[in-house]
């Protein structure tokens, strides 16, 4: 009893002295973390380990519970790397990610700079411009399938009115334009987050910096490159990285528009993984590609993360 009251008085003077109290806090903190840790272990860490293991299992089983009985080896990797479709999907993914995020960055930067001018009504514009972010990928796909429909799509009607197109063009069906066709809805859905992130960074740049630049006689372009850009490049690098990762691993829009077709023209790596696994039931090949995707994404995020961190000041 005397111990307890002494403990309590020590807590009052400064809790850090008391190990018992600290230990209880640590235990509680661990207990609070348990449900999340269990979720992550069972639903992310263990499945990831399985992905890796399956990628090393050679051969095919009908019963997936017995996949662990297959011999180990790099056969799946060798097979995938010699599959021309894998390389085609790699370049499709590269174009898809670069095209979508590149255009989304240009639009995001432009809209963020415009919104930052605090013109009348920008508050409403900000809300409106952000809405695409909240729309499910499948619904985005359906909207654009209709707008860019070959015969009755309003996009073609506009192009015809402008004299840019005669007749019909089925954007999603023609293998020459299918990739562009899936990039367009992806840009539409991706750019709001970029706008928002850059806008937040812009608003945190102290106005004094612009005043100082003004005093020094800087022109608008100089102000952008010497004040604005250094202030937003860290956030921009981060949001570009996150968007690239998102577009790289996402399958919703492509799945719901072209399904990877026509003739594999829009089959990205993420979709290649899905098809190998759930269309052909080649789990080994699918997990081998998936493992390489994660390795690549990890490498990319470490590199871009380093760039982003270095530019924070």
């Amino acid at each position: 009893m005397a111990m307890t009251s002494m403990t309590a008085s020590k807590v009052r003077q400064g809790g850090w002295l008391d190990l018992g109290f600290e230990r209880r806090r640590t235990l509680l903190s661990l207990a609070l973390l348990m449900p999340a840790a269990a979720t992550v272990l069972v639903l992310i860490v263990y499945p990831l380990y399985q992905v890796f293991e399956i990628s090393l299992r050679e051969g095919k089983v009908m019963n997936f519970a017995r996949i662990g009985t297959l011999p180990l080896g790099f056969g799946n990797y060798a097979r995938v790397l010699s599959d021309p479709q894998f390389w085609r999907s790699t370049s499709t993914s590269a174009i898809y990610v670069a095209g979508s995020v590149g255009a989304a960055l240009a639009i995001g930067l432009a809209t963020a700079l415009l919104l930052n001018r605090r013109l009348p009504g920008t508050r409403i514009f900000r809300t409106l411009i952000l809405i695409p972010w909240a729309v499910p990928g499948v619904i985005v796909s359906i909207m654009f399938l209709w707008i860019m429909d070959g015969s009755f799509g309003v996009f073609n009607a506009m192009l015809r009115d402008l004299g840019l197109l005669t007749g019909d063009h089925a954007w999603f069906v023609d293998s020459r334009t299918a990739l562009i066709a899936v990039i367009i809805p992806t840009i539409w859905k991706t750019y709001p987050l970029i706008t928002l992130t850059i806008l937040a960074a812009l608003q945190s740049i102290p106005t004094e910096l612009y005043d100082a630049a003004e005093v020094d006689g800087a022109k608008a372009v100089q102000k952008f490159f010497h004040v604005t850009w250094p202030g937003i490049q860290g956030a921009t690098a981060l949001v570009v990285m996150v968007s690239c990762l998102g577009v790289f691993r996402d399958v919703d829009i492509i799945f719901a528009t072209t399904g990877g077709g026509p003739a594999h023209a829009t089959e990205t790596l993420a979709l290649y993984v899905y098809k190998e696994a759930f269309q052909y039931f080649r789990m080994g090949a699918a997990t081998a590609v998936g493992t390489m995707m994660i390795a690549f994404a990890l490498l990319l995020s470490i590199l871009l993360g380093a760039v982003a961190r270095r530019s924070k000041y």
Partner: protein, 276 residues
């Protein structure tokens, strides 16, 4: 007004129009007669005298649509409830302690952002068949939690970080246990954060497609996104019906978003950039 201001405003208006056009055209297709829309040169402006809401009645007459909506709602509510409970506790712990366990959870969050959904589906698919939870709500909710728990935990950590520790310390000096301090002091203050995380997770679950497409087989348990996608595969797409269905299915999300935008904006950037 300066000329630059006018130009900026016009540019902004242009971006907003292009951004909103797909919504506008979806609603137009749903409410205008088919002959006005299924045309080589459809009129871009609505003919107010010919507006009809038949298509909306039509989608509810199609028996699957209400079922899909209901399923999406059930999955969304369950995913959100479990994710938020788990993540609120975890977020508090992450905010107040920085031990090895906490740091590893943070690292898993980053990794979980790198995993393609189409990949994690493979082990989940195998696991679910072993456990007998393939084609169940439970299975889909758990799959959704692979995305929402890391995300919401990190979001909640951010919100808790902004609540000064001194408040709980003061309560504990007054004799409250840490659990009481959390329940009586910290959680009430974290309410706006919990609300934002709830909407964020709900929107994510509402949008989810590929897990439901793969882990649910029975039509009566199918969710909205998968149901909508199945329309597109049909030989003759009924665009008017499809656009009415699309309008109804995103209306809850958009309303939630517009009204809660000030709350969400912070969470959106934080959530998207969390752990990086």
């Amino acid at each position: 007004m300066k000329i630059g201001t006018v130009l900026s405003w016009v540019a902004l208006l242009g971006f907003a129009l292009v951004t909103l056009f797909p919504f506008y055209w979806m609603v137009m297709t749903a409410i205008m007669p088919t002959d006005a829309i299924l045309s080589r040169s459809p009129s871009l402006l609505p003919d107010l005298s010919r507006i009809r809401f038949d298509a909306f009645g039509g989608i509810f007459a199609r028996s699957e649509f209400p079922t899909w909506m209901m399923n999406s709602l059930i999955i969304g509510v369950l995913t959100t409830f479990f994710s938020i409970v788990v993540s609120t506790l975890a977020g508090y712990s992450l905010s107040r302690h920085a031990g090895v366990v906490q740091q590893s959870l943070g690292a898993t969050l980053l990794i979980s952002k790198l995993i393609p959904a189409s990949l994690i589906l493979i082990p989940l698919f195998i696991l679910y068949n072993l456990l007998g939870i393939f084609d169940t709500y439970l299975g889909l909710v758990l799959a959704n939690m692979t995305i929402s728990v890391p995300l919401a935990s990190w979001l909640m950590k951010g919100f808790f970080d902004r609540i000064p520790r001194e408040l709980e310390q003061a309560a504990m000096i007054d004799g409250a246990s840490q659990m009481q301090a959390l329940r009586l002091i910290v959680l009430p203050l974290a309410k706006p954060g919990i609300a934002a995380a709830t909407v964020y997770v709900m929107l994510n679950s509402w949008s989810e497609f590929i897990f439901a497409r793969t882990l649910i087989a029975s039509p009566e348990r199918q969710v909205l996104t998968v149901g909508m996608q199945s329309f597109v595969g049909e030989q003759m797409v009924d665009w008017q019906l499809l656009m009415a269905a699309g309008t109804v299915s995103i209306l809850p999300a958009i309303l939630l978003f517009v009204f809660l935008e000030p709350f969400l904006v912070n969470g959106m950037t934080k959530g998207a950039l969390a752990g990086t």
